[in-house]
């Protein structure tokens, strides 16, 4: 579809949508804030970045096309905002922006652990800041906020779910949603689906069970909770665990924002690694529904289908990476699809109506930890590649083939883009007891390891192109952060200490801008005062870039 990169019409249309919904609800429109109807499956309002992924699909593809392959050389920094006055976070070193800012009515809302920032998108000046003092939990990341009307939702390291007024940053209420004493912690950006605020949890140090919750946007009260494991022996899925004890301590955290298809009324969520993390001897079986993609009804929390990406995981391969939704015609038939580049090194393309697979294929090396795939397309783990006391080598890098930084799918190129790590690592078993606890082992080694930006054909899972950055750690090279693609055929991501733009079709670098740190979040884009802005976080600094820097 050809569409001017931004128009008055688009802005008027956005206003019209807001008014229409308000009149349906028979109440005055909120003075500011985000109407939930701004959230759509495949469309981002041009002047807004309304949710972690920009729209419900998780494609991180923007139709805005003011910045093109021809004029990209004019793209310059308009302002930068550096966080000041906050000391390094407990045990976690320098401040790093991992959140994708929301952009609503000219204000950017973003986070680091314990802190929320509202920054004027025109000037880069701080509007307000919310500071929280935690009493435990991990402070290694915070993905951002969710927004419903004028209200902001934020999760703290120690499991507080807090609602703030987006105008002032003042706290409205807080609810405890996770117990940090049991080593749960909360880092994700809440996902708003109708009148549900969907939040997940992290935490795999003490063998707790993962869950996903829906909370009321007005009161913060729980609407439903879905557990990552069956609750008792005899329930569906319990046959993949040896006993209830192991099942109820099996992990499966829900720590990244999922995606949503309003037509099918299904949310798609990835679940994290199984516990104990590296020691699988006390939990023989596939260990459902850890390390899976699950489709849930957002009104009830009931599971409709699942697909397990890393059955009986013994390598810390959280399967939480964004399940990206897209539509495509295959053999003349329109299909509703979902794709995920998983940390275990497999690329999956599924029919999102039922979870049936179209593609299940390694995307880095051979994924030698698996003996192929089963009839549902799920990898079959090789027992001989579980961690050993003397080490067991896999052709997946130590931290997985990819991780949380958001991938992108472009409907123009029909390619799925992911920043990956390729290499070998060795997994060790430390806890050899029949009832291991915690991690029980570890992964080490960075053998022939390098990063790469990989473009995958969604029909075949073949690598269409791959960019391996020159240099390596000690010298400066490496891909970093998430990916944004646009209708102008551009792909934005971090390369070395720069924000770089690639030709999304050919994989050539077209432009770059040096930043003070590595790109550390997913780049985003929206239109402000008729100018396309690229927003990116790098370390403790947020940048806005426009053509000519104006």
């Amino acid at each position: 579809m050809k569409r001017p990169f931004f128009t008055k019409f688009a802005q008027l249309a956005a206003v019209a949508v807001l008014s229409a919904t308000a009149s349906i609800a028979q109440q005055a429109p909120p003075p500011s804030g985000l109407n939930p109807t701004a959230l759509e499956l495949f469309h981002q309002p041009a002047d807004t970045w309304p949710t972690y992924n920009g729209d419900y699909s998780g494609r991180r593809f923007s139709a805005i096309r003011q910045i093109t392959q021809q004029n990209i050389t004019d793209l310059k920094i308009k302002w930068k905002y550096t966080i000041t006055g906050i000391p390094p976070l407990r045990g976690s070193g320098p401040l790093i922006i991992k959140s994708t800012p929301l952009m609503v009515h000219g204000v950017l809302y973003f986070t680091i652990p314990d802190h929320v920032f509202a920054v004027d998108a025109r000037t880069g000046k701080e509007k307000w800041r919310f500071d929280f003092e935690d009493h435990g939990g991990h402070v290694l990341g915070q993905r951002g906020v969710g927004m419903y009307g004028k209200w902001i939702y934020f999760l703290t390291p120690d499991g507080w779910f807090i609602s703030l007024d987006s105008e002032t940053g003042k706290e409205r209420w807080r609810k405890k949603v996770a117990d940090e004493k049991l080593q749960y912690f909360t880092t994700m950006a809440a996902v708003i689906v109708k009148n549900h605020v969907i939040i997940g949890v992290g935490g795999d140090a003490m063998d707790v069970a993962g869950y996903l919750e829906s909370r009321d946007p007005d009161t913060g009260e729980m609407q439903w909770r879905w557990w990552s494991e069956p609750q008792k022996m005899g329930d569906p899925g319990s046959e993949t665990w040896p006993n209830e004890q192991s099942m109820r301590h099996g992990g499966g955290m829900t720590w990244l924002p999922g995606t949503y298809d309003p037509e099918l009324n299904l949310i798609y969520w990835g679940t994290g690694n199984t516990n104990p993390v590296f020691a699988g001897q006390g939990r023989k079986g596939a260990n459902l529904y850890t390390d899976s993609i699950v489709a849930l009804n957002p009104d009830t929390g009931k599971m409709v289908w699942y697909f397990q990406g890393s059955p009986h995981d013994t390598h810390d391969w959280d399967n939480v990476e964004t399940p990206v939704l897209f539509d495509m015609e295959i053999d003349g038939k329109p299909r509703k699809l979902l794709a995920q580049a998983a940390r275990c090194g497999y690329f999956f393309v599924l029919d999102r109506t039922n979870g049936k697979y179209l593609v299940s294929k390694p995307f880095t090396k051979t994924a030698n930890w698996s003996k192929g795939i089963d009839e549902r397309g799920q990898p079959i783990p090789d027992p001989d590649k579980e961690p050993k006391v003397d080490g067991s080598m896999v052709d997946i890098a130590s931290n997985g083939a990819t991780n949380w930084p958001p991938p992108s799918y472009s409907p123009q190129t029909k390619l799925f883009y992911v920043n990956a790590t390729e290499g070998y690592s060795v997994a060790y078993l430390y806890d050899t007891s029949p009832q291991p606890e915690g991690y029980g082992g570890g992964s080490s080694g960075a053998f022939d390891t390098h990063s790469s930006l990989i473009a995958l054909d969604v029909l075949t899972g073949d690598v269409r192109w791959k960019h391996i950055p020159k240099g390596r750690g000690a010298e400066g090279g490496g891909m970093s952060g998430g990916i944004l693609t646009t209708a102008a055929g551009l792909l934005f991501t971090g390369d070395s200490d720069r924000l770089a733009a690639f030709d999304a079709t050919a994989g050539k670098i077209l432009w770059s801008q040096k930043l003070d740190h590595h790109v550390s979040n997913g780049p985003s884009t929206s239109v402000l005062d008729n100018k396309q802005n690229i927003i990116v976080g790098a370390g403790d600094t947020l940048y806005a870039l426009t053509l000519d820097g104006k």
């Binding site: 407990r90 045990g91 935690d134 435990g136 402070v139 290694l140 120690d158 117990d179 940090e180 049991l182 080593q183 880092t187 992290g202 140090a205 003490m206 301590h249 810390d316 959280d318 030698n368 003397d390 080490g391 052709d395 931290n399 991780n403 930084p405 790590t421 070998y424 060795v426 060790y428 430390y430 806890d431 007891s433 009832q435 606890e437 915690g438 082992g441 570890g442 080490s444 080694g445 960075a446 053998f447 022939d448 990063s451 950055p469 020159k470 240099g471 750690g473 000690a474 010298e475 400066g476 090279g477 490496g478 891909m479 970093s480 390369d495 200490d497 720069r498 770059s512 040096k514 550390s520």
Partner: protein, 256 residues
């Protein structure tokens, strides 16, 4: 090190974890008192182990390392009174005969077991191998390594230098010395310069030559040749079985 750790790709993996930092990072609260935990271990074995199992991981009684009550206790203020009272209705006897200090010591032992499970910064590689065969390692070495390496030359006494098995295995698989590499840069005007690559990425190439001077070029204007010293190791990585690696490790550990 943690499930969510993003690892900015260009940063090398850090080995040699700092226990203190990992304890703080994980938000594990108070560090258990090792002396009290040691005293508590004996008391645990006498009074608790029969029901709660070795290392408190459960038997006919519940697992105490994962117990919500124990995890919510800070320094015996929950566990102490609980032990004194017991929970007779569910078969947990009272331990009123123990002193307050003894009950606190048992609590401290449980906190130490939690620390050892939860704080992965304290995990250690085994110092002893459980598998591997010296003779098979020798044969593998002769077939795949001896064209470049010698056990009486460059690898003489390598087993003394890397005596810990996991360290030896890592050295065998990928003996890379991290840090800037030697390279030859062919400049835009066709000159070939050899030196140390101080910076190298998709955009800038900086070379330091022997007289100490450095020059930076846009990477797309130069040709950079870096000798691949690890070619042989790279070729072996996809071929090793775990047995091969264990056999080689065993064998090279004997070279002391």
């Amino acid at each position: 090190m943690a499930a969510q750790e993003p690892e900015l790709h260009s940063q090398p993996q850090q080995n040699g974890r700092q226990p203190d930092r990992s304890h703080i990072f994980l938000g594990l609260g108070r560090v258990p008192d090792a002396a009290a935990a040691k005293r508590g271990e004996g008391l645990y074995q006498q009074n608790c182990q029969a029901c709660h199992g070795a290392k408190a991981r459960g038997g006919i009684g519940p697992n105490l390392v994962r117990s919500v009550l124990v995890l919510h206790d800070d320094a015996g203020e929950e566990i102490g009174p609980f032990l004194k009272e017991g929970r007779p209705q569910s078969g947990m006897p009272s331990f009123a005969q123990l002193t307050d200090t003894q009950r606190t010591d048992i609590a401290e032992y449980l906190h130490m077991e939690i620390e050892l499970a939860a704080n992965r910064g304290l995990y250690k590689h085994s110092g002893e191998m459980t598998s591997g065969n010296v003779e098979k390692g020798r044969q593998f070495f002769a077939a795949h390594c001896a064209s470049c390496h010698s056990t009486t030359g460059d690898l003489k006494e390598i087993g003394a230098k890397y005596s810990q098995p996991a360290a030896m295995l890592a050295r065998i698989a990928w003996p890379e010395n991290r840090g800037p590499r030697q390279a030859t840069v062919t400049t835009p005007d066709g000159k070939a310069l050899t030196g140390v690559l101080e910076h190298y990425d998709d955009f800038d190439t900086t070379l330091k030559i022997s007289n100490g001077s450095t020059t930076t070029w846009p990477t797309d204007t130069v040709k950079v040749s870096i000798p691949d010293k690890l070619e042989g190791h790279r070729a072996l990585l996809p071929k090793y079985t775990d047995d091969d690696l264990h056999n080689l490790t065993r064998y090279l550990l004997t070279l002391k």
